[in-house]
Amino acid sequence: MKALPRASRLIALFCFSVFLLISFTFTPSYAADVGNCLLCHKYPGISRVDEEGKLRLFYVNESIFSNSVHAKVKCEGCHTDIKKIPHDVAKKVDCLVECHIIEPSSEKKFSHKDVKEFLGKSVHGPIDKEGKEKKYIEDYPTCKDCHDNPLYRPLSFFKKVRPGISEASLGRCRVCHKKEEFIYRFYNHVTTRLHKSRNPLNIAEVCARCHDNPEIVARHEMSTKAVFSYGETFHGKAARFLDERVPDCLDCHISKGESVHQMLPKEDPASSIHADNKGKICTNIDCHPSASPKLAKYSVHAEFNLKQSPAQYFFTVFFIILTGGTLLPLMFIILLDIIRRFFPNATIGRRK
């Protein structure tokens, strides 16, 4: 990068100082964080260039964070290696640590450790059944490959079910529960979990990071670019137009009642997409309850290519030929007709 001229640097420094001064003077402090981490991390410009030359931003937007599912977790709950301020370079967060929250049903310290066990047994686990590492182990996902810190996405249930918080319902909570902050958080927590925290398009986009990556698809000998082919179905197209009622990847690839981390390969008899279970996916009560199991024979991941689905490929080619064969001659006639109208009586033959 070219260095800025001296005068510009001075101006920039001056502006930055004014900005800092204004920020320190006028920003009200909401600081709910015990460790006072926001003292520094509330500034949008806080960043550094790391050893690999990448610009890293360390800004924490408090209003967004406090609407996220992890809002009650203290910073130190996840960033366990930070003991003093100012701190050294922090390690990456390990989602499996025990944080300070007490899980109310068991009254034990809360942790995502169980997820690791689920994931380990699933098609996404890095270790195979014989206990050996799978090929291309670096391709297998860990927590943060799919998850960010999700925001609350509450549902309002009073006369109608719709997104948002129902003030009318909150009024009923207040009869017994006195602490306003608790009421909001509990309402948000429960209603957010009653539906998906991401819409079908977002889910598909998460899966697409690996499942539409041609190198990964080829390396693991997968039969399809899964999200691409899903995108060619009505479900995928509706998801693209932000319909939340259509099934996304997880709705079909997970058996009802199980965690998404328990996704199994289609060869496994317990898998929802195993040939024997597939019929139940479409006919489930929320989808096509009156359908016959034959509906599940619909190939969701057909790609219109010769190798993967030849019948559909030739069927498509037939229509392409039909379209070209009809339109091209007609368009050629139109073109000739337009030109002909400039010279209506010209001819190289005998004039009649």
Partner: protein
């Protein structure tokens, strides 16, 4: 027939009766529903295109556009069913019954009566296409002398006819996928989607390029042919596109002496080339 004379003279110009009230209403229902179906269907086919969400949003987005699509699809299917009944009735009344009264029916005669319906493609159409090619490639300066319905109109009729069978049939299958897959395998839906959307694209392009060129954009009709509203075609267009039929009607009406020369006076070519036209 009193209300709609075959030749109507208005302000000294002749107009030729072509489409009945019933046919014109059928055409308008067809046209409106096809346009709505294309507008609510194409954003799904081209869901990745930048314009798709905006066009879809105009019809209420993913929550309402599919409903609108189905409503107009149902209208079109109903129209098609009505048309088939109508067609059968018309053929029966005007071709089969007179035949029955006159000479009695045999299978061959009925088939012949059907095969000589005005919209059935015939040898004359092949000759007209050949003549048009000669004309378009400057081999001759004589345009094909079309009959009552030219090959272009027959194409315009049979292409949507076939299209509606394919698109309507597959549309009904996808609409009633639960019922359809009781009998047929699920893969049928894959083929239905391909047939429905690819045939629809073909139909839309066919109508908006070919049909609209012939009835809207071509220099002889621009900005718009009015026969689909009034049912009457001007003498100029009639003699340009349907010369054989025009001569026949004029002769039958006893107006032989007023018949125009083929396609707008090619005799006075010398004045035409000077740029003056009347």
């Amino acid at each position: 027939m009193e209300k709609y004379p075959l030749i109507k003279i208005k302000d000294g110009e002749k107009f030729f009766y072509r489409f009945t009230h019933n046919q014109r209403i059928q055409h308008i229902i067809l046209a409106v529903s096809v346009v709505v179906l294309v507008l609510t269907g194409m954003p799904l086919k081209f869901h990745d295109a930048a314009w798709a969400p905006y066009l879809y949003a105009l019809f209420g987005g993913i929550h309402y556009a599919p409903v609108i699509h189905k409503v107009f699809g149902a209208i079109l299917v109903a129209l098609f069913a009505y048309h088939v009944v109508y067609l059968t009735y018309v053929i029966h009344k005007f071709s089969i019954l007179p035949l029955k009264k006159k000479e009695g029916l045999t299978t061959m005669k009925v088939l012949k009566a059907i095969a000589t319906q005005p919209l059935v493609p015939n040898l004359k159409d092949a000759k007209d296409i050949g003549q048009l090619m000669k004309y378009l490639f400057y081999v001759t300066n004589v345009r094909p002398r079309g009959d009552n319905f030219t090959w272009k109109e027959k194409f315009d009729y049979w292409a949507p006819f076939w299209g509606m069978l394919i698109i309507g049939g597959t549309g009904l299958i996808m609409w009633n996928k639960e019922l359809a897959t009781m009998i047929m395998p699920g893969e049928l839906l894959n083929f239905s989607i391909i047939a429905h959307s690819d045939e629809a694209l073909l139909a839309a392009l066919f109508l908006f390029i070919w049909h609209w060129y012939n009835v809207h954009f071509s220099i002889s009709v621009f900005p718009m042919g009015t026969v689909f509203i009034t049912g009457y075609m001007s003498e100029e267009l009639m003699s340009e596109e349907h010369y054989d039929h025009y001569v026949k009607i004029m002769t039958e009406a006893g107006l032989e002496h007023e018949i125009l020369p083929p396609h707008g006076g090619q005799e006075d070519e010398s004045t035409e080339e000077g740029g003056a036209s009347s």
